[in-house]
Amino acid sequence: MESVIELSVIIPVVERYDDIAELYGLYKKGLEDSRHSHEFIFVLDGDFGEVLAVLKRLIAEGEKIKVIQLARGFGEATALTIGIQHSSGNVILTMPAYQQIEAYEIPRLVESLKDCDMVIARRWPRKDSLLNRIQSRVFHMFLNPVSEFKFHDIGCGVRVFRKQVAQEVHIYGDQHRFLPILAYKYGFRVLEVDAVQSQKDTLQRVYSPGIYVRRILDIFSIFFLVKFTKKPLRFFGILGSSIFAVGFLILLSLLFAKVFQGVALANRPILLLGTLLVVLGAQIFAIGLLGEIIIFTHAKDIKEYTIDKIIN
C-alpha cells in the first residue's frame, strides 16, 4: 500500500514564486490530511538558482521531492507536461509555486474528483482587490461564450485530474490555462469547486500591456481551437470572402463611374482602398485554404472523438 503512489503533486516554478520551503510545508500538511500516498515534483522552467538551492536543502533534510530542471524557459504548460510524464500517480494535482488557495482545502478538492475527470479550484470568496476581480471578470466574460463551459477562475493553477486527461489533451507553451477548456471539449467531466483564497494572493496586480495582449490572443486561440480547428476554411473563408466582396463592390462602382461618368481612376484614392480590401480578402481566404489542406491531408492523424470504453 505504501509503495503505490496515488497522487502526484506537480509544482511548476515559472516567473512568480513565494518562499518555497514555507509553501512546501503548507502543501505537505494539506496533503497529509488527505491520506493519499503522494509524491512531490517541482519543475523549474528555466534558471531559478534560489529555488533550486532551497529544494536541494529540503532534499538534504530528507524530504522526498523530485526536481526537474528544464534547460530554459519553455512555458508553464510544457513544464506541467514534463512533470506529468515523470509522475507515477494516477491522479495529478497541479499547484502553483505561490499560494493561491489555502492549503487545507486540498483534501476536499481531491475528494471531489470521485465522479468526474477534472476538478478545478475556483478562488471564492475573493479577497483580492477590486481591480483584480474586474480584470478576471472581464476576461471570463469573453472566454465563456467561446469555451462553452461556465468557468469562473481559469487563472487558478490548482487542478486535480486523472492522468488520462493529460495523456489525451496535449498542451504546450503558455496553454496551461486552456487545459480545462480543452479537457471539457474532449468530453471529460470537468467540475469547478470553490476554495478559500489564500491571504497571500490578495496583492493588487497591474500587469504590463504585453500580458493583456497575450490574454486577448489566448481568447482568440481558444476560440479557434474549440470552434474551427477542423474547419479553418469556414472561418477564414467567410471572413475573407466578405472582405473581398466589399473591395470588389468598391472597384465595381469605380469602374462604373469611369466608364459612364468619365471620372478618371487616378483621381479616386478610394481605388486604393478597394484594391487593398480585395487583396486582403484573397489573402485571408488563401490562408484558410492552406489550413484546410493541412487538415485534409492529415485527417487520418486527427481524431475527432474520444473513446470512453470499448466492449469486446
Binding site: A264, A266, L289, I293, D308, I311
Partner: protein, 320 residues
Amino acid sequence: MKDLSVIAPLYNEEECVRLLYEAIARVVEPLRLDHEILFVDDGSRDNTFKIAKELAERDKRLRVIRFRKNFGQTPAMAAGIDHAQGKILITMDGDLQNDPEDIPRFIEKIEEGYDIVCGWREKRQDKLITRKIPSKVANWLIGKVTGVAIRDNGCSLKAFRTDVIRAIPLYSEMHRFIPAMASIAGSRIAQIPVRHHARKFGKSKYGLSRIYKVLLDLLMIKTVVSFSSRPMLCFGSMASLAASGSLLTFAYTIAWMNRNERGSLVVLIGTAMLLGALTIFFLFAGVLGELVYKTGNLKMNTLADIRASFTGFETLRKEG
C-alpha cells in the same frame, strides 16, 4: 481479419438498440460469414449504452464503442471505421429507418467488384418539406459540383471495402460526401435502392443539416480536393491572375502619363503594387501548400494503388 463489420452509430436510441441488434443478427447469421456488429454510442444520455453492453455480454460478436460525449455522426462513423475488423464495412442508421434485410444485396455488389455501394431510399418515409426537399436540392448540388451523380448522399446504408474507405479523409461533416470524394479518387461506385421505414421511436436526432452548411462543405471539398493534390498549380494560377491585374494597371498608368493628364500617380501605382504583392503572396502560399501536401499522409493516388479488386472471403463460406 473478419469478413464483415456492420457499423451503426447510436445516439439516445434505447428503444431501438435491441431491435436493431436482433434485426442485424437475423440477417447476417445465415450468410455464414465471420462477422461483427459494431455499435458506436455517440455519448447517449439514456440507457442505450447499458442495453448495448448487456447484449454484448451475451454475444462476443457485438462490439460497443462508447464516446465520452456527443461528437456527432461523422466522428461516430469514423470511429466505427477505425475500429472495425471486417474486410467489408456496412454502415447504417441506428434508428431502424434502414432495413438490415438489404445487407446481403450490398455484399453481393461488393463481391461483384465495386468499391463502394450506396443505397438510395426508394420510398422515403420522412417529412416532405423539412427533410425530402432539402435533401433533393443537396443531392442535386453535390452532383453538379463534384460531377458525380449520387442519388441519395444522405442515406446511411452503404457498403465499403475497408481499405478504400480508410484511404478517404473523414472529418467534420464529411460522411455525406464519402461517395463523391471516393469517386473523384477513382473508386467504382454502385447504387442500389433500399427500403426505408418511418421512425418508430423517438425523434430524429441527426437532423439533416441546414442547406448552407452543405453548401459551405461542398465548396470546401471542391476547392480542397482540387487544390490539395496540386497546390502549386492552383495558387500559381491565382498568382498569374493577380500578376496580370498588376501589369494591366501598370500599362494603364504609363498610357495615362503619356497623355499628360492631371491627377495623382500614387493611386494607380499603389494599386499596381498591391496586386504585385498579392502575386508574390500567392506564389509563396503555393510553395507552402506543396510542403503541406508532401508532409501529409494523404495522397489521392493511394486510392488508385488499392484498386486491386476484392479478394473474396476466406472463411466459413467455402464449406457452405
